[in-house]
Subunit: 342 residues, 4 copies
Amino acid sequence: MIKVGIVGGTGYTGVELLRLLAQHPDVELTAITSRSEAGMPVADMFPSLRRRVNLVFQDPASAGLDQCDVVFFATPHGVAMAQSPQLLAAGTKVIDLAADFRLKSLDEFSKWYKIPHTAPDLLEEAVYGLPELNRKAIASARVIANPGCYATAVQLGFLPLVEAGVADLDHLVANAASGVSGAGRKAEVGSLFAEASDNFKAYGVAGHRHLPEICQGLEQAAGRKVGLTFVPHLLPQIRGILATLYARVSPDIDVQALYEKRFAGEPFVDVMPAGSTPDTRSVRASNMVRIAVHRPQGGDTVVVLVAEDNLVKGAAGQAVQNMNLMFGLEETAGLTHIPVLP
Amino acid sequence: MIKVGIVGGTGYTGVELLRLLAQHPDVELTAITSRSEAGMPVADMFPSLRRRVNLVFQDPASAGLDQCDVVFFATPHGVAMAQSPQLLAAGTKVIDLAADFRLKSLDEFSKWYKIPHTAPDLLEEAVYGLPELNRKAIASARVIANPGCYATAVQLGFLPLVEAGVADLDHLVANAASGVSGAGRKAEVGSLFAEASDNFKAYGVAGHRHLPEICQGLEQAAGRKVGLTFVPHLLPQIRGILATLYARVSPDIDVQALYEKRFAGEPFVDVMPAGSTPDTRSVRASNMVRIAVHRPQGGDTVVVLVAEDNLVKGAAGQAVQNMNLMFGLEETAGLTHIPVLP
Amino acid sequence: MIKVGIVGGTGYTGVELLRLLAQHPDVELTAITSRSEAGMPVADMFPSLRRRVNLVFQDPASAGLDQCDVVFFATPHGVAMAQSPQLLAAGTKVIDLAADFRLKSLDEFSKWYKIPHTAPDLLEEAVYGLPELNRKAIASARVIANPGCYATAVQLGFLPLVEAGVADLDHLVANAASGVSGAGRKAEVGSLFAEASDNFKAYGVAGHRHLPEICQGLEQAAGRKVGLTFVPHLLPQIRGILATLYARVSPDIDVQALYEKRFAGEPFVDVMPAGSTPDTRSVRASNMVRIAVHRPQGGDTVVVLVAEDNLVKGAAGQAVQNMNLMFGLEETAGLTHIPVLP
Amino acid sequence: MIKVGIVGGTGYTGVELLRLLAQHPDVELTAITSRSEAGMPVADMFPSLRRRVNLVFQDPASAGLDQCDVVFFATPHGVAMAQSPQLLAAGTKVIDLAADFRLKSLDEFSKWYKIPHTAPDLLEEAVYGLPELNRKAIASARVIANPGCYATAVQLGFLPLVEAGVADLDHLVANAASGVSGAGRKAEVGSLFAEASDNFKAYGVAGHRHLPEICQGLEQAAGRKVGLTFVPHLLPQIRGILATLYARVSPDIDVQALYEKRFAGEPFVDVMPAGSTPDTRSVRASNMVRIAVHRPQGGDTVVVLVAEDNLVKGAAGQAVQNMNLMFGLEETAGLTHIPVLP
């Protein structure tokens, strides 16, 4: 059994990690920390975990995280880079679900996250935890930068086109929409039910933090700069991201075949039959991503639809998938839940 | 492995059965029938099941249901009583998720369901599948009448009071509210998103079909007639029932202790600490029921809150629980999913 | 034109007042105050008001509220009782949408609101602004205590029974459910979309602040103490309250006739035909209350259903109705909007 | 007073017409027809209209529609083209909210709507009722083709760019999302609450009926062919369309100024300040459209956001606006309702 610790388990990513890890056949949940809630049973905060998770939130100082085999950081950015060096020195691996290790450029990091990076060595060492792109490197990593929710969906959706070099890479468009859980369990007016329900809007049009992350991944795959217009939107639903991607691709390319080949054998990427329109509920509470490709009116614009659960493949599930790879477990261990529909 | 068939798998109860059974360690899904959809892969109708359920809807005539160990009926009422005799004769057990075997009185059945009962012998033999009430009888039953969704919540909530004989049984009040999935996957105007969303209303005030079922159960427990006012409501959410029950109980009765004792050891009934207010999401997609009891201002009226997922403990999950009991499996087998929150 | 000021216009009650008053034929919106947002155009906070409300939030000190004919307080409790004496001295009338003047007993006020009352004289003078109960007194009042949202629905629903003396007043039950806007525009975790959506729960079972207010009104009407069990619930919708009331009433009482007679001529109370089940959307964004009475199975328990928009008849609309009465305007002026459905 | 008739008032467009027209100062609602519901009071079907609309659904044959000044068709396509000639002969004007008169090409009509056109003369005569494009022609029209909901939002959003000739017209992208009310009040599984709630998906990617309508309008404005990729999506909310439009526009064009100038003086188009992100609730239940333009990272791709209430400016409200123009009324008469927020 792998001993697992969680830092910062009071948010939605944290409770989703708890749900997945408590049902994982190879995991022993050892410690969960929260400075503000130290002493409170986890199940008092999240009654869904009553009878299943008996942990109590602990103060980080006394939680014994360095006795764990791996620690997940479900914290705001800035925490993982501060605490990781000590854990790694003790032989504990790290999976950061925040952004501390996602951007390889220190300048880009401080530009988008408004703080200096305090562990540049780890930034270099860290592996970007998108298994469909970096599976081998993940298996031998000590530090994983778990991808952002939008970044996962958009990269997976564009990768086959970018890797094959068949799209106009200067004018990619990613129109994406996320459920409100993506904003976290923070008390903010904009995330109130009476604000977000029965409502839809774009946000972050001038620049969202997942933009440089997406570009970095696509540029690595393309071996050149890409031009991407990325517009996120806020959906009146709890979970789910749908990315609707637009790219110019010469009409003679068989995009359906391209996608089927690229993702053949991937346990968590389902390329649907031509003409499909994946809905977010078809992946609700599961680690699966469903993709469909279209070429409307047979023209030179390809539309790629990507459905993902932002809390699972977009966060906690992908983190567990990375853990499985890092520890030589079955990649799908603990991640086989069938989506909940309706 | 138990060979399982499902009759009528195109509704919400059906797809929920498929989700649970496909993940059940002791089950082999053998056949699923639908006259209207014969030939269609199940996963084409419910993409959430892609890669996990490879069955194709079959015509009932050629599905070989009588080769199964047990058949679940997820059909409108009237179907199970017509097809069960033949299955039973072939040694196949039956679990009916509709109402054919719920009401012991032929008169009550035809009064509430507007059709005559065509299998009165089976009606007598059938066991009402509420494990917390009839666990032993279920274990040896050939035919199970799986309880209604409201009926499960309301009976579980009142049982301790009724069995202990401490409530005014002439004036029980059950105010209950259900998510829209309780109305089934039928194309009806009243269940449209644009009708049911951002809206709340009572319905069936003059008499809902679960009323006689609830009274039958409570009267069996009480050994006398009970007077119950039952008002169901329609919630703007997909899953979940909350029953808010009111009963007059002498102030000297310790209801918290009464409930804890009554349900001690029950794997799927969680009596919460005094003062709790269970929410429906704390049981979402799980077979757990959570109950809290209150005595506002220390008066003579007790309030019992019961949260249930109407598709799981209120339908498919309870049916699987009954199957487990009938076949001597672990009662919780295939039913240990942690609720999905948020 | 009546000059109107609003104190504290940044919440849902405030923006609803603005919507109604900006369309009121006899009103001139003169000032709106917010200490925290002074200087910001109202329409920057609420884009729905662009081109229609040109006011800028002002600091209370310089807003000239005492030049208004009437000031609405859409503030937390405690504010109106502090600022009203000065306004009244200047000849400005006051309508408080919070609780400062609702409870006649100083002890009850400090027990439920945890602060001492600083204007006991005004408490005595203030008129409880439920027009269907106190129309005449409202017309000549200087200070109005605008009723709570639940309190409006529950009192209107019970009044005919209580006034007629035909119900068992010791065991009234009020099961009520409200949309999330009732919790206000405060950044609190419990009101987040990802917490409140697809979810239903009771709260405040041990004692909600509207309980003493309801009892005070019913006791005034009954001329005796009443025993009420009041359980509020939180609905996954923005607007709307449905109160489902239970009372024991002798079977020989024609409750339908009783209600029709009691509310005959009331402009904002619609007693629906027997058998109706009013839904909250049938009053959405309007000042109308719809009521239906039932006697299930002809028994001795009567069920009264009351649908209300908590922000209109439960708050801002009723406040405008009170203003209309106080200034001798048509009672329905500015309140004739047809409900928005769907 | 203008005498108004409505054909087919049992859908969402119909009830919205009723809400608007019943509050219109210059309108007398004279007749409403429904073959299936003849004899039923309108307010029995839509309780929101109780006390405000006393009409009874009439059989079309006996409704006296030809006595009206204008008749609105809120029917499936095919009805208006069959009944209009007779009405026009009687001097009654026609506003069709369906698609019968939208596409000028008979071939395109029969290609997209699968029926032959039976009134080609009227097709030629009919004026496309987008006031911001055709105000003058509308004023003198006898037959109005009221635009589609998506078509209104997308055309308004692209018009300034297209008219100014500053965009790459071969590669326009319109990503749009609509509330479920856009699917009408038809009993279909896909529109059920339990299907559409907490869910998001694209649909009609291969070709939606509003595509040729949008292209026709843009091509008229451009004087040349345009290439448009249009992907509609289904939102889990009742009302509201948000169109997110992408176009390549040379960086030296000041798009903010272009839009402000184009829509200056328009009563129902609100060009918001640079950087704004209009949300659908900011126009809920109103005839206003809000537009914001962005140029992310100062690049060559412009993003235009358009928020609209699909039932008002996207259907009934625009129809009333057209009526106002046709009869020389104030263009905003009956359409001044402030949006309902929250």
